[in-house]
């Protein structure tokens, strides 16, 4: 370390790394690494490490995990309709532990979305979007949307029957959206899934969108460094140092989280359903769970009305910090009731959407 320290400003690198979470405070890059680390470790933190305040950092770690597993998958994957399914078979059938990497990547995507959505619910309930945290909220909404897009674009890649027809169901709902529908239609390139769909979605899936997500995470952490951590409403609470409390608790939670991903990957694996065939419908196929409420809405209302309604909901959701004009700390009764009603509606629509299975 000393040898490097004479030649490289390691503290600057440490400072850069901690920009993506962990140490929420400035790091003096003029000081040697050990002192800077010790300083950062001693810094007292609020009890945010405890449930449910850890959803953000968990989501970030799962995102990194998706990056690593995705990298391994990209070694073998071939994004063309002729080769995609075979390369998927090579990964999941012929490559040592390939099935395992694929299943973890697949389950990781569901868990990432679940974590980001839960985090939004948490923000909403605690009204953690109020000034000066508007950006944290907006970034949170965008992150959830991008994670959903990542999951959708990733789910089509195996190019098997379930992937193909599930994607068709997903596309049905997204096409109804006023602006996003047109953009999505442009990305898909029409109503048929043509031969260039896979390379297009693949490049977005592994490069453009992950970079955007990383940039949003960076923006989120940079915001936190500026405005500090949310301490909840009048919740002073005891403060603990970053190490050992924060880091060891975080490690504990992450070990449990990976236990969950791993178990889901082994016990509930997705099955190969044969190469995609546009001329043979795959019966009983559903869109992914996060698209079910949207499908429920287009079942209940005419498509374009449902599309406009969904779009308005997104806009209202993103603009929540500016719509909530209640002064002072206010009560969690209103935000809690709103949340329960909204979640009830979403669950009901999801149930209606589930009904399309027939």
């Amino acid at each position: 370390v000393a040898w490097f320290e004479e030649r490289v400003n390691l503290t600057e690198i440490f400072s850069f790394i901690t920009t993506f979470g962990m140490a929420y405070g400035d790091i003096d890059t003029r000081r040697p690494l050990d002192e800077a680390v010790e300083d950062a470790f001693r810094k007292p933190h609020p009890v945010y490490v405890r449930w449910p305040h850890i959803l953000g950092i968990m989501a970030f770690v799962v995102f990194l995990f998706q990056g690593v597993t995705g990298l391994f998958l990209s070694f073998y994957y071939q994004p063309s309709p002729d080769a995609a399914y075979n390369s998927f078979l090579v990964i999941t059938r012929d490559t040592h532990l390939g099935w395992y990497i694929h299943q973890m990547h697949s389950w990781g995507s569901h868990i990432l979305i679940a974590l980001l959505l839960l985090r939004l619910c948490r923000f909403f309930f605690h009204r953690a979007y109020r000034s000066p945290r508007e950006l944290v909220w907006i970034v949170g909404v965008l992150l959830a949307l991008l994670a959903i897009y990542e999951a959708i674009s990733g789910s089509i890649l195996p190019w098997d029957q379930e992937a193909y027809w599930s994607f068709m169901r997903t596309a049905e709902a997204i096409r109804e959206l006023p602006v996003f529908g047109a953009i999505f239609g442009f990305l898909v390139g029409g109503y048929d899934l043509g031969p260039f769909l896979l390379p297009r979605f693949y490049v977005l899936h592994i490069m453009a969108v992950p970079l955007a997500i990383l940039a949003l995470f960076y923006l989120h952490f940079a915001t936190i460094r500026r405005i500090g951590l949310s301490r909840g409403d009048g919740d002073a609470g005891p403060e603990y140092p970053l190490y050992p409390d924060h880091i060891l608790n975080l490690l504990t939670v992450l070990v449990l989280l990976f236990g969950v991903i791993l178990t889901a990957a082994v016990v509930f694996p997705s099955l190969a359903t044969g190469a995609a065939d546009p001329y043979v419908a795959y019966e009983g196929v559903l869109p992914p769970w996060y698209m079910l409420p949207a499908h429920g809405l287009i079942e209940v209302l005419p498509g374009d009305v449902a599309g406009v309604l969904m779009m308005l909901s997104f806009v209202a959701l993103t603009a929540a910090p500016f719509l909530d004009r209640a002064r002072g700390e206010g009560s969690r009764v209103v935000s809690g009731s709103l949340l329960v009603v909204a979640l009830g509606l979403v669950v009901w629509l999801g149930y209606v959407g589930y009904g399309i299975r027939g």
Partner: protein, 389 residues
């Protein structure tokens, strides 16, 4: 203005000329006989430049009724239609250019239809009843009544349909596997003409049914000819294959067909015991194949590499496919020679797949151990955290 007229007048002339042109090569005949001209326009005859005048005489270039109809042949009497069409279609030189046979008239004359007509029965089918008059299409044209999909309903079925038992030939045929295959696009599957002939149409005799069916079902015929049924059925006055399978309403060859055995054989007879033995062999093998296919489908979804299993099952399926016609030999040993091979492949594939799936179940066990490790790690982390505080 003059230039406008110059450009306008040819256009007007072109517009006026359009109806005649649109009606093909009927020339000025179309001016009065437009309905017929429309029928003729897309026909195979029009495609080969045959005009109204070639069959009817007259002058197609004149719009004067008298001139146009000068030399017009009268309508061909029904009894003379075959000879009239044969004027060209029985001429080998004329037909050679079109790759058409020239023996249709000769065949027609020896057919049931031709002989009935010669005997003065004017209800007997003539060329135009099946081929149409002016709207004659090639046999492969989907619009043609003689096309394989249409021939039963549009041609033969016009006369050979009825409501009484055994007389509704069309209805019986439409309930057959042959008709279903034709409608699904299998042009090799038989319509009426495959068994009865087209121009030389005649019903096969009792002793010749196996030859007709054997044109496609050659292995079945081979087995049948060496079976006790070969002579026994004819001796009993039954029409060979059709005795069990029906003639027009040929159903799927399932196990239900074996109930037909009791029509001739006593339930406790040796013949029935032999039949039951063959039936059991076939059913056991088919069930084994279904189970083997299910197990490979299960393995394919994992996904496991099932290409080898599928290749082996394809081989087993070919043994089973060979065994099916061999059941007509009524020789259980000969059938078992094939079903034994198919069944043993099916059993072996199931055992191999089950072995591979059993190994995979070990993954769940690994997860159990992993959770032990996770619990220990979590406990260690928390204990370490407390010790540091």
């Amino acid at each position: 203005m003059r230039s406008v007229e110059r450009s306008f007048l040819p256009l007007l002339a072109a517009l006026l000329a359009t109806p005649g042109d649109a009606l093909g090569n009927a020339g000025d005949c179309a001016r009065c006989h437009s309905e017929v001209a429309v029928q003729h326009r897309n026909s195979a005859h029009a495609f080969e430049d045959l005009t109204c005048v070639d069959c009817h005489g007259g002058d197609a270039t004149s719009t004067d009724v008298d001139t146009a109809h000068r030399g017009l042949r009268p309508a061909v009497p029904r009894a003379e239609i075959p000879e009239f069409c044969g004027g060209c279609h029985a001429d080998p030189v004329a037909m050679a250019a079109f790759g058409l046979p020239a023996d249709q008239l000769a065949l027609y004359q020896i057919s049931g239809h031709g002989r009935a007509l010669a005997a003065g029965d004017l209800t007997a089918a003539v060329c135009t009843d099946c081929h149409g008059v002016h709207d004659i299409y090639g046999v492969a044209d989907p619009a043609s009544a003689t096309q394989a999909r249409n021939v039963a309903s549009s041609d033969c079925g016009q006369c050979h349909a009825g409501s009484g038992a055994g007389t509704d030939v069309l209805g019986d045929y439409e309930g057959s596997v042959h008709h279903a295959a034709v409608q699904q696009g299998d042009m090799e599957a038989p319509s009426c003409v495959h068994c009865h002939g087209s121009h030389g149409a005649a019903p096969p005799g009792i002793g010749t049914v196996n030859r007709v069916c054997g044109q496609c079902h050659s292995e079945t015929r081979e087995a049948f000819r060496h079976s006790p049924h070969s002579e026994g059925i004819v001796a009993a006055g039954e029409p060979q294959c059709a005795a069990c399978h029906e003639n027009h309403r040929v159903g799927p060859a399932t196990a239900d067909l074996w109930s037909a055995c009791t029509d001739c054989h006593d339930e406790s007879s040796d013949a029935m015991r032999t039949g039951q033995k063959i039936l059991t062999l076939m059913q056991q093998t088919e069930d084994e194949m279904v189970r083997a296919r299910q197990s490979t489908a299960e393995a394919r979804a994992v996904p496991l590499d099932v290409r080898d299993y599928e290749a082996r099952l394809d081989l087993a399926a070919s043994y089973l496919a060979k065994a099916r016609p061999r059941t007509h030999s009524l020789d259980p040993e000969s059938v078992e020679e094939l079903t034994r091979k198919a069944r043993s492949i099916g059993e072996q594939v199931q055992a191999d797949v089950a072995g591979e799936l059993y190994v995979l179940e070990g993954r769940d066990l690994v997860v159990l151990f992993l959770w032990l490790y996770i619990v220990v790690t979590v406990a260690a982390l928390q204990l370490y955290r407390r010790s540091l505080r």
